[in-house]
Structure formats: C-alpha cells, structure tokens
C-alpha cells in the first residue's frame, strides 16, 4: 500500500530521480518510526546492559589472557621451531623480547588493550599477519555456514514443533518427539561424520573435500548444525505452543466459534514468539561453539577451525581476537533479542507499562 502512495505522489512517474528520492524518503520515514517504536529498553536499562557488556568483555579477555600465562606451551618455541630445527637460546630470548612476552602480565594486558583501542589486535604468530585480517579471512565462511544452518533449522523446527503441539500425543507428535529425542542424544560431530560417510562417500551426492567456501560444500556441515540445533529447538517450539494453547483466551476464542486456523495464526503463534526468540538467542550461543567442532569435521575454512589451530599453535593474539569476536557477537545478539522482546511485546514499550 505505501509503495503505491509513493508512486502516486510523484506526478512525473518517469522522472527516476524524483521517484527514487521520494521512495528513499518514505522508507527513511518508515524506518524512523519503526526505530522510535523500538526504543525498547528504558534508558537506564540500556545503560546497565552496556555497562554489563563492557564488564563482561574485560572479564572474558582477562580470563583468556590469564590462560596464556598458565599455559604450558611456549609460543616463541612453537613459532621458531619449524620441523626439527634447533633454535639458539639467544634468538628465542630476542624474539620473546620483541613480542613483549617477557613483560609482566598486567603490562602485556594493558598493551593489548591500548592496541585494541587503536584498532590494532596484534600480530598472529602462526599466520604471520594482523589478527584483524586473519579474522576477516575466516569470517565469511563461518557467517555463511552459521546463517544457512540457522535458516535450515528454523524451516524444519518451527513447523515441526507446531505440528507436534497441535497433534499432541498422536502419531505426528510421537514421530517428531522420537526424532528430536534421538537428535538431542547424538553428538553433533558424530552426526556430521555419519552424513559425511553416507552422503559424501557412499552416495557421492555432495563433495567432501573442504578448503573453499562454496554452496554445494556447505550442504553437509549446515545440515549437521541444523540437525543439532533443530532437535532441541523443536522441543522448545512444541512446549511454547502447547503452553499458549492451554491459555484461557484460546478456550474463549474456540467458544466464540473462531476457526482453529485463525486462532493459531492470529493469537497463539504471535504469543509463542516471545519465548522462542529468547531461546533462539541461546541457540546462537551454542552455534558459536558448535561451529568450531563441525568446521573441524568438514575442514571448513572458517573462524572455528582457525581458532582450534590457533589454540594448538599457542597463537595467543589470535585466540584473544577470536574470543573477543565471539563475545561481541553473542552479546550483540542477546541485546537484539532483548530489544525485539520489547518491540514484540507492547507491554514492555515505553509509556505503556501496566
């Protein structure tokens, strides 16, 4: 509807510049109102959340930094000793000094922090390049994989959960619950190996050798992650929908003779949305860890595989960078979840407290 209003207002329809400008202004306007409606969290709450995020970032990075201190491996020896070469002690000491690893713990941490404030995350020992560049290299693969698996998961889990709740204690419910029960009890990497063996090796339907990011190579890892997340999520969708179906307003609506279809679409599902979005945030938290394991199974060139190698190589700056990235990403997601919560639930919006 608004789309046509925009066209109608523009007298000269063929003047593409005017038309585009109008269109842009209209959408900016709509966006502005949307945004205004989304000033979701009260100001104090937002400040509190931001403060908490900063504290968490400090805590997590400090913890990771502390780990490098107690870690038994020596990054300098890992760095210099390629193969069987024996490196003179002076050279190790010199490199250590050059990397600043001979400084006390708090100085190293402060130096890292000040570097971070300048947008410099340090130099990766193993990749011999800036950490930020290395992270950017792995990012597309991981984001593509995680996004695809999330979409696949939602496409299966949401209808599955709804179906299961609607046909409670009947054939479909038992079938879906049976699947999700076994799915929950299976380690994701084993599912990945089975899929790899059956579809990649036996049936030859999907290419198996990893190394590059292409769509056909992504099917199996994305399916694995989707199965691992979906089994849990289907259960949660079922529980949320069942809970809503048991509410009085559903009984009321049925008594008024509303068809089940419209009760489901208009009332039950929008209400069930709220807990599901929170749970989706938690699922994404799992995804960030799960993606590391699955990337190892399929040799997928992403951040997770990079992180595991970085840990093996004692590449501290890279590990720090990865942990920081995960923390920022996950907290951003959770903030978004909270915002959408306030946006979807009119009770929580500003000025409409009950």
């Amino acid at each position: 509807m608004p789309f046509f209003v925009g066209i109608g207002l523009c007298k000269d329809v063929f003047c593409i510049h005017k038309y585009l400008r109008l269109l842009m202004m209209k959408y900016l306007w709509i966006f502005y109102f949307k945004l205004k409606g989304m000033i979701f969290l009260k100001k104090n709450e937002l400040l509190y959340r931001l403060a908490q995020m900063v504290i968490t970032l400090f805590g997590v990075t400090l913890l990771t930094f502390g780990l490098t201190y107690v870690s038994p491996g020596d990054p300098v020896e890992m760095l210099l000793e390629v193969g069987d070469t024996i490196v003179p002690k002076e050279m190790i000491e010199a490199t250590r000094h050059q990397l600043g690893l001979d400084q006390p713990f708090y100085l190293q941490y402060l130096r890292w922090l000040s570097g971070l404030a300048h947008g410099d995350m340090g130099l990766s020992y193993s990749a011999k390049m800036p950490v930020a560049d290395r992270l950017l290299q792995g990012l597309p693969g991981t984001v593509a994989l995680a996004g695809t698996s999330l979409i696949m998961m939602l496409l299966v889990a949401v209808p599955g959960g709804i179906l299961s709740a609607l046909y409670r204690n009947r054939f479909w419910d038992y079938l879906i619950r049976g699947f999700s029960f076994f799915g929950v009890s299976m380690p994701s990497f084993w599912v990945g190996l089975i899929l790899l063996y059956v579809f990649g090796l036996k049936l030859g339907l999907c290419p198996i050798a990893g190394g590059v990011v292409t769509w056909d190579r992504m099917i199996l890892p994305a399916a694995t992650l989707a199965i691992a997340m979906g089994t849990k999520y289907t259960r949660q969708v079922r529980t949320a929908v069942l809970e809503e179906l048991g509410q009085d307003y559903v009984v009321g609506a049925r008594a008024r003779g509303l068809p089940m279809r419209s009760i489901l679409w208009r009332h039950v599902l929008p209400n069930a949305c709220l807990p599901l979005i929170t749970l989706l945030g938690l699922t994404i938290g799992w995804l960030l860890g799960g993606v590391a394991v699955i990337e190892m199974v399929f040799s997928w060139p992403g951040l997770g595989k990079m992180a595991v190698h970085a840990i093996e190589m004692r590449d501290y700056p890279l590990v720090e960078g990865f942990v920081l990235w995960v923390a920022v990403f996950y907290m951003g997601i959770n903030l978004l979840v909270d915002c959408s919560y306030a946006y979807l639930n009119p009770h929580l919006r500003k000025g409409r407290t009950h």
Partner: protein, 273 residues
C-alpha cells in the same frame, strides 16, 4: 494415583538401565575380550567379525574393548565433573543467597558474565590452552558450568529464606551454620539433584566434543570422543571405527536423559501430592 505409580515404574526401569551402564563401566576389564592398549599391526583396520565384533582401529586394537573401557573413562569424568559443579556451585550459591552483601554482588556479576558468553567456546579455550588432559577438561567445563548451580542455589535460598519457619528458627536462636545445614540445604537438595541428573547427558557430550577436538583425553586413553577423532581420519577405509563409539555415546546419553526426565517427573508428582 495411577499416574504416580506409572512414573515410578518408568523411573525404576530407567534406574536399572543406568545401573547396567554403570556396571559395564565397573566390570569393563572382565567383560572386554582384549586389552585396550594392545596394538597389533597385523590386524590393523579389520572389519567387524566374530573375533572382533566392532572391528579394529588403525593400530589393530579391538574397538569393542576400547568402547567398554571408554565407558569407564567417560562416566568417571562425567560423574566427577557433575559432582564437582553441583557441590561447589550450590554451596557458593546458598552462602551468597543466605548472607547476601558484597560477596553476593560479586558472585552475581560473575554469573552474569558467564551467562553472557557461550560456555563451550570458553571451555575449548581453557582446555586447549592448559594442554589437553582429563583433569584440564574437567576443570575447563567446571569453570564454565558451575555458575548455573550457583544461580539455582541462590534463587532457591532466597525463596526459602522468606518462609515462616526460617523466621521461627531465627527467633529460636538457631545459628547460621545449623540453619543452612538443617533447614535450607535439605529443602533445596531435590531441585539441585534433579538438575544435576538432567545435566549428565549434556556433560558426557561436551566432554566427548572436547576430546574430539584433541583438547581432552590424550591417546592412548580409551575415550569415545578421542576414538571418534581417530575414526574420522580413517572414515573412508574403516567407517566402523567412528560408527560404534558414536552409538555408545548415543545410547548412554539417551539413557541418562530419560532417567533424568523420569526422576524429575517422580519428584514433581511427589511434591504435588
């Protein structure tokens, strides 16, 4: 009434299954046909047969034997881990909830911090940096999961502290130590135990994933995650090496999940009565 007995029957059934798994772990040396560490290069990667029911791995070790011994490793690690986080987490949570104050603040901020970060990522970092070993795996997972129990213990304690009998006990001059031990801990124990029971399955899987990444148990320890890692390398020629350890995880985790769920049902119906 009928429901209750059904719940209990199911619970007894699953308890028997759990005991069965535990006895496999205990009697692994008696049950296993071979030695889990005996490498026999002549029989490297042989397919399942009557001599080796689950086949042999790259070093010619019997897979069935290693899976049976793996029950021992995995269950010992899991039970130790769950016991550790339950006891430490609940204790800290109860103390913080009962006494409140600055310690409580500090604890809650730390718990919030843990909640705001995906635990398994941190566990991978900790276990990896400290160097893969059984103890470090347990430590890493304990560090990231104990706050859950601290939160639980704290919130339950706060709820109970409002009860009248606590006020009565305070009036009677009960000392804090005795109060915690006789009034609070017994009351929160059922919920904590159910939570712990339901966590066992998850912990088995997380331990296995750390081992799979190479940050857990180290070779030649018979451990399921590690065996899956070894199986991954020979998936083309010997799929059985990765098939059976996964099945073992599936069965054990499923049984423990069912057991935990039915324990919760029994507890719930008892509380409702």
């Amino acid at each position: 009434m009928k429901n209750l007995t059904d719940d209990k029957k199911l619970f007894y059934f699953y308890t028997i299954l759990v005991l069965l798994i535990l006895s496999v772990a205990v009697f692994a040396p008696e049950l296993a046909p071979y030695n889990p560490f005996d490498a026999n290069m002549k029989e490297s990667l042989t397919a399942p047969s009557t001599a080796h029911w689950f086949g042999t791995d790259k070093l010619g070790r019997d897979c069935l034997t290693r899976i049976l011994y793996g029950t021992q490793t995995s269950l010992m690690m899991t039970i130790f881990l769950v016991a550790l986080i339950t006891v430490v987490g609940t204790l800290v949570g109860v103390l913080a909830g009962y006494f409140g104050g600055r310690m409580d603040m500090l604890l809650m901020r730390f718990a919030d911090m843990m909640l705001a970060f995906p635990g398994i990522v941190l566990a991978i970092a900790i276990a990896g940096m400290m160097g893969g070993s059984v103890a470090n795996t347990i430590l890493a997972l304990a560090v990231v999961s104990w706050t859950k129990y601290a939160r639980l213990g704290r919130s339950l304690t706060l709820k109970i502290r409002e009860c009248d009998y606590i006020a009565a006990a305070i009036t009677c001059g009960t000392r804090p130590g005795q109060m915690l031990w006789t009034h609070i801990v017994p009351n929160i124990l059922p919920t904590v135990v159910v939570t712990a029971a339901m966590d066992i399955g998850t912990m088995i899987m997380e331990i296995a994933s750390l081992s799979f990444l190479g940050f857990g148990a180290q070779p030649p320890t018979p451990e399921w995650g590690l065996m899956l890692n070894e199986g991954r390398q020979v998936i083309q020629t010997a799929p059985w090496v990765m098939l059976f350890p996964g099945l073992a995880i599936l069965v054990v985790v499923a049984v423990f999940n069912l057991w935990g769920d039915s324990l919760r049902d029994v507890m719930d119906s008892q509380r409702a009565n």
